[in-house]
Amino acid sequence: MRSGFIALILPIALTFGVAAAAAEDAGHVKVSNGAAQIERAGQRLPAAVGQAVQQGDVVITGADGSVGITFRDNSLVSVGPDSVLSIDRFVFNSTTHQGNFDSSLKQGTLAVVSGKLAKQSPEAMKVNTPAAILGVRGTEFLVRTGPAKD
């Protein structure tokens, strides 16, 4: 009976553990201009100053929009107008500075100042675009992606 009881409890505990980890804030919005939203689990939240950003969020700006986010590892990430940036993965151990920061710029412009993650390991930070994968060695960089204008 006892092992059956544990088998029942364990999956529940695991589910809660994963949910808690996923809900941990990856960063916070520090700058917000114009039309700027965060898409989370199918819902759109205003990307207002102070808004938490989590793994899985998608940052979306309109024609007059821009957003600046400071992440827990001190990475600074900002997007310009008409941009879509997906925060695919953010894991950061504040003691060891190990983890991963993967994001995808689907369209638009992006400015990045890498933080403690990229300093700790050159593999830790990646930015994907529809056409390329960018690896980061402790640095500042810019990304623009989109179809060529006719």
């Binding site: 520090k30 100042v113 402790g138 640095t139 623009r144």
Partner: protein
């Protein structure tokens, strides 16, 4: 892509066929094969350090390791290196650069021996430091207290936490909107200046305020 018109009386099957005709185009777009306007630029670091950006696209790789070195990608695998300038970068990335958050920073305050009272020097600058913190939007603040090595470890743990909490309480009086503050006491474990035990060292009696 040109989809030839068909004479069909059955509307449903005609629209189904035109969708099939569009499928290769959709695949092309999904694969990112359409002509692109991608630009990747390495910036000079503000701390003077130059890192590197490794651009991988369709089996091609290019390493950017000079300030304002850039790669343009017109389709996956077509990576061309070129130089940009600060002026060109401002033009192409102005709003994204303007939206960069203020860089994280740390401040130090120092304390009189065995107290949570600031030294006269720190008292003079604390107002200026607090004003700078208060200017930041939705600041996240970590306050970490430290002691020198005079006294027992457990006593210094408590003293370092008391110093950090004193600074936090003063910061809270500023009523900064959306502020988040956490505190910790590290006791005598992380001296700024390493000393033997029981040595009085003013530089170790400090609180570090990290703000982002």
């Amino acid at each position: 892509m040109f989809v030839p018109a068909r004479r069909k009386t059955d509307v449903r099957s005609a629209s189904a066929r035109s969708l099939v005709g569009l499928a290769p185009l959709a695949l092309l777009l999904l694969a990112g094969c359409a002509s692109r306007n991608d630009l990747y630029v390495l910036l000079p670091g503000q701390d003077g350090k130059i890192g590197a950006l490794i651009v991988s696209s369709g089996g091609e790789q290019r390493v950017l390791d000079q300030p304002y070195a850039a790669a343009s990608v017109t389709s996956p695998g077509r990576v061309e290196g070129r130089a940009t300038s600060e002026a060109e970068v401002r033009q192409a990335f102005g709003p994204a650069l303007a939206a960069q958050p203020t860089r994280p920073v740390s401040f130090f305050l120092y304390f009189l021996a065995d107290t949570d009272e600031l030294t006269p020097d720190s008292k003079r600058v604390v107002g200026q430091i607090f004003a700078e913190i208060a200017r930041r939007p939705a600041p996240e603040i970590v306050v970490i207290g430290h002691t020198d090595r005079v006294g027992a470890v457990a006593y210094n743990d408590a003293l370092s936490l008391k110093r950090a909490e004193k600074v936090r309480d003063d910061l809270l009086k500023l009523a900064i909107p959306k502020v988040r503050i956490s505190v910790a006491g590290r006791g005598e474990r992380e001296p700024l200046v390493p000393t033997a035990d029981e040595v009085s060292e003013p530089r170790n009696r400090r609180v570090e305020i990290s703000v982002r």
